[in-house]
């Protein structure tokens, strides 16, 4: 047999011995990921077709019942309850993403124009909430929305809530919590693009009497698209699966897919149905990643 010799990083060796050594390096980490990520993922797919026993145990009878149930076909006929929750999750993720983007642009422009010394300070100020525990950041809104504070009083005066009651749980509180949670996820990648922005192009557009809207869409947006698209995907995908924010700030009134999954693995003890919902969320995730990849290819053409 012919051995293929090659020089690799200054070492004269054969492909076969390199691959042998390479496998030695790959195997611990890859075996771990296969054992605790890929394999459980596949098991989850299988379980999503199984059924629930009388005591919440898994029964290995495979059918499409869980998916039918998710689509709304229950013992009492068709109801849209679960589909509404799925749709609401997509909607909340979408609104969260849009609001985060809208707020991130001025913030990034502001930071990019600070003098270098204070710029890092501002940037660190955005990074800190990014790393702060999400339970703390969510429940912190309890205090701001408490009945004793001006915000709830104002809402009570306007007749939006009854006096003496807090502004949570409510859809409004969920949006507040979600946007404040994910804003740094948009702002940080966006900032890396804004920092490299070529302002001469923006000034050229202004010199040519472009309207403010056209300056943004044709001079600023294409240049910041790489950072923006990373931020959008980093927000949209996890926002769909979020369950802490709706659990604490939305209560039973504003359930999202994340809460539904958690319920099946917690109180309801219906792992098979929980697995099926997880698969639904996975499909939504894959679909958004697919859109993102297609869009970002288009973006390259645009720039």
């Amino acid at each position: 047999m012919k051995r293929k010799m090659l020089v690799w990083y200054g070492e004269l060796t054969t492909t076969r011995s390199l691959i042998k050594r390479g496998l030695l390096f790959l195997s611990p980490g890859m075996l771990w990921l296969l054992a605790f990520l890929v394999l459980p993922g596949l098991v989850l797919v299988v379980v999503s077709f199984a059924s629930r026993g009388a005591y919440g145990e898994l029964v290995w009878e495979f059918n499409l019942e869980n998916y039918k149930r998710l689509a709304g076909f229950g013992i009492f006929g068709w109801s849209a309850d679960y589909l509404v929750i799925v749709w609401r999750s997509v909607w909340v993720a979408l609104v969260t993403t849009v609001l985060s983007v809208v707020l991130s642009y001025p913030l990034c422009f502001f930071i990019a124009r600070r003098p270098e010394r204070t710029r890092y300070l501002w940037l660190t100020m955005v990074i800190i909430p990014f790393w702060t525990n999400m339970v703390i950041r969510t429940y912190a809104w309890f205090l701001i929305l408490a009945p004793e504070l001006p915000f709830a009083r104002l809402a009570a005066m306007l007749g939006l809530v009854s006096p003496g009651s807090p502004l949570y749980p409510s859809a409004f509180a969920v949006y507040l919590g979600m946007v404040s949670m994910f804003l740094p996820f948009v702002a940080l990648p966006l900032y890396s693009s804004v920092e490299r922005l070529d302002w001469e192009l923006v000034e050229a557009a202004q010199d040519l009497y472009a309207s403010r809207l056209r300056v943004f869409t044709q001079a600023i947006l294409p240049q910041t698209l790489p950072g923006l698209s990373v931020g959008v995907i980093l927000t949209f995908v996890p926002a769909m699966g979020m369950f802490v924010v709706p659990d604490l700030l939305g209560g039973a009134k504003y359930m999202l897919v994340g809460n539904l999954i958690q319920q099946q693995f917690g109180a309801s003890r219906d792992w098979a149905f929980g697995a099926a919902i997880s698969m639904g969320l996975m499909v939504l995730t894959m679909f958004s990643l697919y859109l993102y990849r297609r869009k970002s290819k288009g973006a390259e053409v645009l720039v």
Binding site: N133, V135, I136, G258
Partner: protein, 263 residues
């Protein structure tokens, strides 16, 4: 000099306030002397002192630390070796694509899906061994699983930016594989490894979802404790605990920033 439009400044300040007001409220009410309600009754540090006499909280802090330290050590080692294995060997394009996909999985999928998969997997493993009862071991395994990916990505980007000249030079000077790794590659990689490890540590401290799904009654961590307590109703003691966790985060973030900027 370009000027910032006043509206941009106003909106930026509004956003900053939006991010920080809730956190500042937690810190303010953690030193408020009243136990119930949110009316200011004077300054006190009692709630902080009480934290250190609360067995449950001390135990949760200990669990959090053990979980973060153990999972960070294991994942940093596994992730670094994995990164070297991926970058420094002539894998075919197809193998590379596969490795890349597996590595990005924990980064892109919502963590609740990973948590659900782990619950089911541990449930099945429990039929084989009682080792996999919900508890610290399961949590450590879960944390390592998502940490490995982040560590490997950070270390790999460092490996790519290192290039191959230095290692080639070492080989030309007759360095053996072990010597090369020990005295050349790893020292050069150290900033990347430390950055990856710090990232893994922060991720572990920050994680709620994976812990929530895999924890047992004996292995409550601080985020889990705060979550459970908040659902019963907020107390100044929880504010004090949260403020401490916040401060630790700030120190970690500023430390990591300094470290990565110095390099």
């Amino acid at each position: 000099m370009r000027r910032t439009h006043p509206l941009v400044t106003i909106l930026a300040m509004f956003t900053m306030a939006f991010l920080y007001l809730p956190l500042m409220a937690v810190a303010v009410f953690s030193v408020n002397a009243t136990k119930y309600g949110l009316v200011w009754r004077g300054f006190t540090l009692d709630w902080y002192l009480k934290l250190f006499h609360n067995e449950v909280i001390l135990n949760a802090a200990w669990n959090t630390l053990v979980l973060a330290v153990v999972s960070t050590i294991v994942s940093t080692i596994l992730g670094t070796v994995l990164a070297i294995g991926m970058d420094r060997f002539p894998w075919s394009k197809r193998v590379n694509t596969f490795l890349d996909m597996v590595l990005h999985l924990p980064v892109v999928i919502p963590d609740i899906i990973l948590a659900a998969a782990l619950v089911v997997a541990f449930g099945l493993l429990r039929m084989v061994s009682s080792m996999f009862e919900p508890g610290l071991l399961n949590m450590i395994i879960g944390h390592i699983t998502f940490q490995i990916a982040f560590v490997a990505l950070v270390v790999r980007s460092r490996l790519v930016s290192l290039g191959q000249e230095i290692e080639e030079a070492a080989r030309d000077l007759f360095a053996s594989t072990g010597y090369l790794l020990r005295r050349v590659t790893l020292p050069l990689l150290l900033p990347g490894i430390v950055a990856g490890g710090m990232l893994a540590f922060t991720l572990s401290l920050d994680d709620f979802v994976i812990s929530f799904f895999t924890a047992g009654p004996e292995s409550v961590t601080l985020p889990l404790y705060i979550f459970a307590a908040v659902r019963r109703g907020v107390t100044p003691q929880i504010h004090a605990l949260s403020t401490l966790v916040l401060l630790i985060t700030v120190i970690l973030v500023v430390g990591t920033e300094r470290f990565s900027r110095r390099r």
